[in-house]
């Protein structure tokens, strides 16, 4: 059992942290050393903001085309129904392919397709307990799903790193959770024939990004230490199409499935 194509999304994984910790990150080290895997930096050509970025990755459309800009508009939490575009799972499902998607964070709580899942912290994990629970539950649910049925496409995403980096950029806790994510990914790789591991954007110290996406001090008074960076990560296995932007992930999956 497993999936013909396995997509692992990591909200805000960034090479600068991965590369300096390669001796601790066994999976990322293996992915770097293996000839089967290609790795590159995916420099975004759109604002590095999770809601529109994930939507672009899985609709193949630019932010202007899919029209999904924010998690909350006019005090209303945006849901799948507010986005007037087909996602890759909608299209493939109509074509009769076996598709499942877990915890995709273009909305909050994150979206699930053909899977029942309740995200810890309602998909916005902000404490150690919630970060641990997210990594553990997403991994467990992914393995359960992949062991149960042969799929054409399985997408699974982790969001904890984004929240940790916003709050603790530069701290040892960031490296600690990269290690946990590294371990989680290591458990999933055996289920994918063709694999894409991608982040929606990268990360950096506040003030270092070309585009500042969030305020330095939030509306409830807490200070943010990290901000989104335009350089996302990309690792692929068995994918022929050259992926040069987030929309290309959609196109690559469509071609390969």
């Amino acid at each position: 059992m497993g999936s013909k194509i396995l997509v692992i999304g990591i909200d805000a994984a960034t090479w600068s942290v991965i590369d300096k910790n390669l001796d601790r990150l066994k999976t990322f080290k293996m992915l770097k050393d293996s000839d089967d895997f290609n790795r590159k930096t995916l420099t975004l050509d759109q604002k590095p903001y999770s809601a529109p970025c994930w939507a672009s990755m899985f609709t193949g459309k630019t932010e202007e085309e899919h029209g999904h800009h924010e998690f909350v508009i006019n005090n209303e939490i945006q849901t799948r129904k507010d986005i007037k575009a087909d996602f890759i799972w909608d299209i493939l499902d109509r074509e009769g392919k076996k598709v499942k998607a877990l915890n995709v964070p273009f909305i909050v709580p994150p979206y699930n397709f053909n899977i029942e899942f309740k995200a810890p912290g309602m998909g916005v994990p902000t404490t150690r307990d919630e970060w641990d629970a997210e990594i553990e539950k997403v991994t467990k649910k992914s393995i359960e799903t992949l062991e149960k049925k042969e799929l054409d496409l399985f997408i699974t995403c982790y969001v904890s790193l984004d929240k940790i980096q916003h709050m603790h950029w530069g701290g040892s806790i960031v490296d600690e959770y990269y290690e946990k994510i590294d371990e989680a990914i290591g458990k999933l790789l055996r289920f994918g024939e063709k694999i894409i591991i991608a982040s929606d954007h990268g990360f950096c110290a506040f003030g270092d990004a070309k585009v500042q996406t969030l305020p330095k001090v939030t509306s409830n008074g807490s200070k943010l230490r990290g901000d989104h960076h335009e350089d996302a990560i990309l690792i692929t296995k068995g994918i022929k199409k050259e992926i040069n932007n987030l929309r290309d992930v959609f196109k690559a999956v469509k071609e390969e499935v």
Binding site: F71, N74, I77, R80, K81, I107, V108, M122
Partner: protein, 267 residues
């Protein structure tokens, strides 16, 4: 004129004004205490016979006591009842508070209501919301326009000064009319007592629990209470520090998510 008579007077004035402006209008009846009070006021406004349809949006997950209450009183009061259900969504397996937790309400409530409005070409709906129920509802107007996508822009609403209402919207606008906006939960219960309005038994304590607000079974929890009569409910509300909609899951989840997004600078 006492306080309750003033409230009643104002509400009946708004209901009559709405009916004068829109013949293609309907009353939204959730089977709860507020919309049943509103139903009562509509009957009074038109001398016992409501001249427009009454809509119940059935998510398929309401309490059995609510369905029983609906059918019994729709018959007794001679209502022109329209039941709206998004059968397509239910057939697709969308269930209450599962999968995408914020979406079920949209499919099973909003979408079902949209379908009814499109089918019957209603231009306006009378709805029993109150300002004191929820922070967002405090921003509402008596005559509240929604755009063609059904969305409410609370930052762009008509002023309602000195009881002057903008009771007509733009061409494509759909209007929500809120005759109970100025009522409080306590006013509702006092009026229920005064008028002896039929009320669902779920509102009264059984085994130390009662519902203060009714919704879908999976998204509504009972509160601890010993109030098993209207008088005791009134007494309890006077002193309680628990929010009326504290048992409604969608309100809690939304507030929780918003709070978290604010802490990360997303709002």
């Amino acid at each position: 004129m006492n306080h309750l008579e003033k409230l009643e007077n104002q509400s009946i004035y708004i209901i009559r004004e709405a009916y004068k402006q829109f013949k293609d209008i309907a009353l939204l009846w959730s089977i709860g205490k507020d919309s049943t009070t509103l139903l009562w006021l509509c009957r009074k406004a038109f001398y016992g016979k409501i001249p427009f349809p009454v809509i119940h949006i059935d998510t398929g997950f309401k309490f059995p006591e609510m369905y029983k209450f609906r059918d019994e009183w729709a018959k007794k009061l001679g209502l022109n009842l329209i039941v709206g259900k998004n059968q397509k969504a239910l057939d697709k397996g969308i269930t209450c508070c599962m999968d995408d937790q914020m979406t079920c309400c949209k499919y099973l409530k909003t979408e079902a209501l949209k379908q009814i409005i499109e089918k019957h070409k209603f231009k306006a709906l009378i709805v029993g919301i109150r300002r004191d129920e929820h922070g967002v509802r405090a921003k509402e107007r008596y005559f509240s326009p929604r755009d063609e996508e059904f969305k409410w822009n609370y930052k762009d609403q008509p002023p309602e000064l000195w009881d002057q209402f903008k009771s007509k919207g733009k061409e494509d606008d759909h209007l929500r009319i809120h005759p109970l906006l100025h009522w409080t939960e306590l006013d509702i219960w006092r009026y229920i007592r005064k008028e002896n309005i039929p009320t669902n038994k779920l509102y009264f304590a059984k085994n130390g629990k009662r519902y203060r607000s009714l919704g879908c079974t999976r998204a509504t929890v009972a509160v601890n209470s010993k109030a098993d009569t209207v008088d005791k409910v009134i007494k309890e509300i006077k002193t309680t520090k628990t929010a009326e909609r504290s048992g409604r899951a969608q309100d809690k989840e939304k507030a929780y998510i918003m709070q978290k997004l604010r802490s990360l600078g997303y709002m």
